[in-house]
């Protein structure tokens, strides 16, 4: 299925498609949650960057090519269709970079963005805390002012820090004003993970590999130059791009269409008897939902191009893609039958990963509250608020 593209958009698509065909490794890279795989994924980022394909929508001087939003979606579709490696830099590119563009100083932009684009520096996010989870406003890790050294001293603990086992820098919110109310008094910090006082403890995931880590902060000094936005303004800074269209909320449909296509292929190749009846219909249903998601995303992109605003539509996307991803993988496991139980298969790994989709980046329960209140205009709960 082809949407109507302009001349230049078609040219862009062809370039990307050809480059990927020539460069995507034929064998999957080792898991990026191993030391070896992390290095291999970093090298892959370097190759993308050399072709100016690592951050297509960024300004040229930061390593991009100023691609339009439509081109960005095209890139994402082609990327997943080609079965190219996962992006080890995605926390930085999708979550942090939009904030640095909006709130960072020119010096910070120069210092952090080009090395992010090349994969030289990989960023880990440090949002959650053991007692906070989805509720960022209840963060407890602290930042204490140190006027003498001109900066802040961090203490506390972060968890579910993805990529942190091998990444170079981290970003997160700390409570810099203990007196302020929940949402206020938070400051947004950037810090090298090898700073004095930081301990990284990997957490083994369902698939047995340390995709996440816990971070312990013990009197970690961060200079003022590494504060993003104004002190005490961290919540607003972090939320300003929470619905960012190039981030997680507008999750590129290419990925799910590619998964759906692979599922159809798996089912076609399944021995007779495995891929029949009920499962066949679920395979088709997965494909249908992936297409619906693709069309919906294109609609959103077109609205944005026309000057519209993302609004709460990101929450609709999030609920849709995360549940679709789980369904696609579950169906694949059913097509595979007992073979799915073999450890280390791609579909089983993908399934375990997909389960975190409805949980991270704002649980789907939070997204449903947002949809209900901001789009449908339903009343808030009488007390407490949302989960």
């Amino acid at each position: 299925m082809d949407l109507e593209l302009s001349e230049s958009e078609r040219a862009f698509r062809d370039e990307v498609r050809e480059w990927l065909a020539a460069n995507v490794p034929t064998e999957p890279l080792p898991s990026m949650d191993t030391a070896e795989g992390f290095a291999a994924h970093q090298q892959w980022e370097r190759r993308l960057a050399d072709a100016r394909l690592s951050v297509v929508s960024w300004p040229r001087e930061m390593g991009g090519r100023e691609a339009s939003l439509v081109e960005w979606v095209i890139f994402e579709e082609e990327y997943y269709r080609a079965g190219a490696p996962g992006r080890v830099s995605q926390n930085g590119i999708f979550l942090l970079a939009p904030i640095i563009f909006d709130h960072g100083t020119p010096e910070q932009q120069q210092r952090f963005l080009p090395t992010m684009a090349t994969g030289e520096q990989v960023w880990a996010q440090a949002w959650s805390e053991p007692e906070a989870g989805s509720d960022l406003a209840s963060l407890r890790s602290t930042a204490t002012r140190d006027d003498e050294r001109g900066g802040w001293v961090l203490n506390g603990q972060k968890t579910w820090s993805s990529r942190a086992a091998f990444a170079h820098w981290g970003f997160g919110l700390f409570r810099s004003d203990a007196e302020a109310e929940r949402h206020r008094g938070l400051t947004y910090f950037l810090f090298p993970l090898d700073a004095d006082g930081i301990t990284v403890r990997p957490i083994a995931q369902l698939d047995g590999e340390p995709g996440f880590a816990e971070l312990f902060f013990d009197d970690v000094f961060v200079p003022d130059a590494d504060v993003l936005g104004a002190p005490g303004d961290g919540w607003r800074v972090a939320m300003s791009t929470a619905g960012n269209e190039r981030g997680l909320s507008l999750r590129s449909p290419g990925r799910f269409c590619a998964t759906a296509d692979r599922l159809v292929e798996l089912w076609r190749e399944a021995p007779a008897g495995e891929g029949t009846d009920d499962v066949a219909l679920r395979v088709v249903d997965g494909w249908i939902r992936a297409q619906a998601y693709r069309l919906y995303t294109w609609g959103t992109v077109t609205r944005l191009v026309d000057g519209g605003d993302m609004g709460a539509a990101g929450s609709v996307n999030k609920v849709f893609w995360s549940e679709l991803d789980v369904a696609l993988h579950e169906t694949a496991l059913d097509v595979l039958g007992p073979d799915a139980e073999l450890a280390g298969t791609r579909w089983m790994d993908g399934y375990l990963f997909s389960l975190s989709g409805p949980i991270y980046a704002g649980t789907n329960e939070i997204q449903r509250n947002i949809v209900a209140e901001r789009i449908l205009g339903l009343p808030r709960e009488p007390k407490g608020g949302a989960r």
Partner: protein, 311 residues
């Protein structure tokens, strides 16, 4: 790009919507469904004369507007939201059938009459749309807003006409589910139980949020399908046929399931009042069921989708 409606299409939708708001409220819908003709002939005349809805997808050489099936779908979505019985679906399918499979003589004779608003029956599988019933006043159908009769023997529809029908039905389905969601959200903001609007209870909020997700995805799927139908009618190539088959069957399957869910939840979230004849929720429910029968159940569409070549 199929993702959005053009400025003109949005204006067309607004015009139809205004006309319906003026002439086709809940009481008018009921009275039309119960009338001898089974639809509001005055409303239909206005739609044809003021807006030309029956002429949209008919080429200018046959006295049509020479727009496309996308414009027809824009109107069908509004009609779906209004719940009024309306002959536009049968009329459009008739035109499509003539354009794709008619003789030139038939086209020259019938298309101008269809463009002008003549209502003719059209059979799809076992379902006869717009059966002649003047004077009878009843069809056998429980749903009185679609005007259909279930025949004993099916006709063999050409595949392309059936796929076009599937695409157009999704437009009605999307409109109907928009109505269902709006009705439910509106009710839940007003209805107070245990001292607060029921729309403030989290369990119900989440259910309505899920409905919105369904409606949004359905609309996207439907717009893709009707764009493919328009492209095929303008250039009936093999590629366009395959594209139509894929998108229409995908959208048909998705929208049928989604509308069933929306209608069922509308009943449940309205509580007791939904089970009354006075309330529009039951019109929605019956229409949802009847629409699902026009082009076959969702699982059959999924099976048919698996047969599209080259995918």
């Amino acid at each position: 790009m199929t993702g959005v409606r053009s400025e003109e299409q949005r204006e067309l939708a607004a015009t139809v919507r205004q006309l319906l708001a003026k002439r086709s409220d809940s009481a008018a819908v009921r009275s039309a469904a119960g009338s001898a003709e089974g639809y509001d002939t005055g409303l239909w005349a206005a739609l044809c004369e003021q807006i030309g809805v029956a002429a949209l997808a008919i080429p200018e050489e046959y006295d049509g507007f020479g727009a496309s099936l996308v414009e027809t779908a824009v109107v069908l979505e509004e009609l779906g939201e209004n719940l009024a019985p309306n002959p536009l679906l049968a009329s459009t399918l008739h035109a499509a059938q003539l354009l794709l499979h008619g003789t030139e003589a038939d086209r020259a004779e019938l298309l101008p009459r269809l463009a002008a608003g003549e209502v003719r029956p059209f059979q799809l599988g076992r379902v006869l749309l717009e059966p002649d019933r003047t004077g009878d006043g009843r069809t056998g159908s429980m749903d009185q807003t679609l005007r259909l009769r279930v025949e004993r023997e099916p006709v063999e529809d050409p595949t392309d006409v059936r796929d076009i029908a599937t695409a157009l039905v999704t437009a009605l389905q999307v409109g109907t589910m928009q109505r269902g969601l709006a009705m439910t959200v509106g009710y839940s903001k007003e209805r107070v139980q245990f001292g607060r609007p029921i729309g403030s209870f989290q369990a119900l909020k989440h259910r309505m949020a899920d409905l919105l997700v369904l409606v949004e995805a359905s609309r996207s799927a439907s717009w893709g399908a009707t764009a493919a139908a328009a492209a095929y009618l303008q250039a009936p190539t093999d590629d366009n046929a395959a594209q139509l088959a894929r998108l229409a069957r995908a959208a048909g399957s998705y929208c049928t399931d989604a509308l069933d869910t929306v209608a069922g939840e509308a009943i449940q979230l309205h509580g007791g009042i939904a089970i009354t004849w006075e309330h529009d929720a039951h019109l929605l429910l019956k229409r949802a069921h009847a629409l699902g029968q026009l082009v076959g159940p969702a699982h059959r569409l999924r099976a048919a989708l698996a047969e599209v070549p080259g995918d």
